[in-house]
Subunit: 135 residues, 4 copies
């Protein structure tokens, strides 16, 4: 499971009156990174949700805000799957200002596979396990 | 169809680096006003969506920003249904700072009734028409 | 520092295509709870930011999502300051569906006092310390 | 003032429980398009706000929602300045699903130049007028 990097550019909408990015938006960027990571490993998240009825639900997230990001900054998000079983998935994130590598945020998230209709924990369908590095 | 007023308090998350409310958030407040208006006329929007499979989709919106709203301001939103047929619904909104009545935004929105599954225009179910003032 | 409870009603805008509240929005609610908590202890956050040039920045947040919140649910947020010094402030949150007490999320956040202009750590102004329970 | 096209990919956070993009998010994309348009004409919005103390405030916006955008869709936004004077700026937007050109939204926005500190209408600084096509 190699590390993967994706980029977002800070939107005006994402700033607050402190003049920096509002802290909840980092969670949205983490989701953008997860979706891009899925695409990178050859996996279409939208497809799994629509066809297999499996959703990847966030069950825990921790964010440490180290330095403020600002409007129009380009942010490089490195994402790494640090645990991957048929039941759960954990990611670690490292967000840096692309212009100078300044570290702005580190984070982790934990996810469970749930059935889309009843929100019950299920196992990742067999066909996806290799891509997700499940042993 | 009497006018109805609801209130929201500006969240920090809703401000941007200009120090005022980011303009897209007024559309969210308009939706809060519509849901409260529905409750006021004895109609449960969540129920209609879940049980009848009818969604009220926004098809057009116009907003005029007159004066900036700021963090922690209480905003009084007056909402009035200005057209209501079995196919569509139009609202007019007037938003004022509650503390002094300063007008901050006027807006209109137009909505169509759609089937939840196929997003096709449908007619408002008979049982809801009286509450919605459909003649 | 007594516990305090505030309430929010889930907005349509806060849901995602899973049919539940998008997880980043809980951080916005936590901020609503903090602002209401400040008001409760007789402290005007907006004033401190504007007049004293002090901002309360989020430096770390952890959220555990236990059960999904849905559109139009009323959410009761209990907030408690679990550490309060002249340099930092920590909160614990417990969010429940108001209708039946179902626990949906627990969270913690840590904050530093920063100067508004240079984003440097500063001490909470003397005049606010009693209200914040700083010994 | 040539037309310009920019692209966004729909984020999960931007969907709602209808399974489509929440309508307020189109205004955020319009802002992304304006910022990219500024960059294209060799103009740094962040710079003007920070150095010249001029903000470009939204004073009116109209959106017509033609077809729903969905999670992970790539959206092509064409933006065109349809009026540009030293006092105001008007844009027209055309948003299409990139995969097949399906039109999803058309919109217009009107903006005034304001002083950042007092929010009073001012004229666009002389040095920017050529780039903005002001005659």
């Amino acid at each position: 499971m190699p590390e993967f990097e994706t980029r977002v550019r800070v939107r005006y909408a994402e700033t607050d009156q402190m003049g920096v990015v509002y802290h909840a938006n980092y969670l949205v960027w983490m989701e953008v990174a997860r979706v891009d990571w899925c695409r990178e490993i050859g996996f279409d998240y939208r497809h799994m949700e629509a066809v297999d009825g499996v959703v990847i639900a966030v069950v825990e997230v921790t964010c440490r805000y180290l330095y403020p990001a600002r409007f129009d900054d380009e942010i490089a998000i490195r994402i790494e799957a640090i645990e991957s079983t048929s039941k759960l998935l954990k990611f670690r994130y490292d967000m840096r200002r692309a212009s100078d590598g300044r570290e702005i945020c580190t984070a982790e998230s934990m996810h469970l596979y749930l059935s889309k209709d009843r929100f019950r924990p299920i196992r990742l369908p067999e066909k996806y396990r290799a891509a997700f590095g499940v042993k």
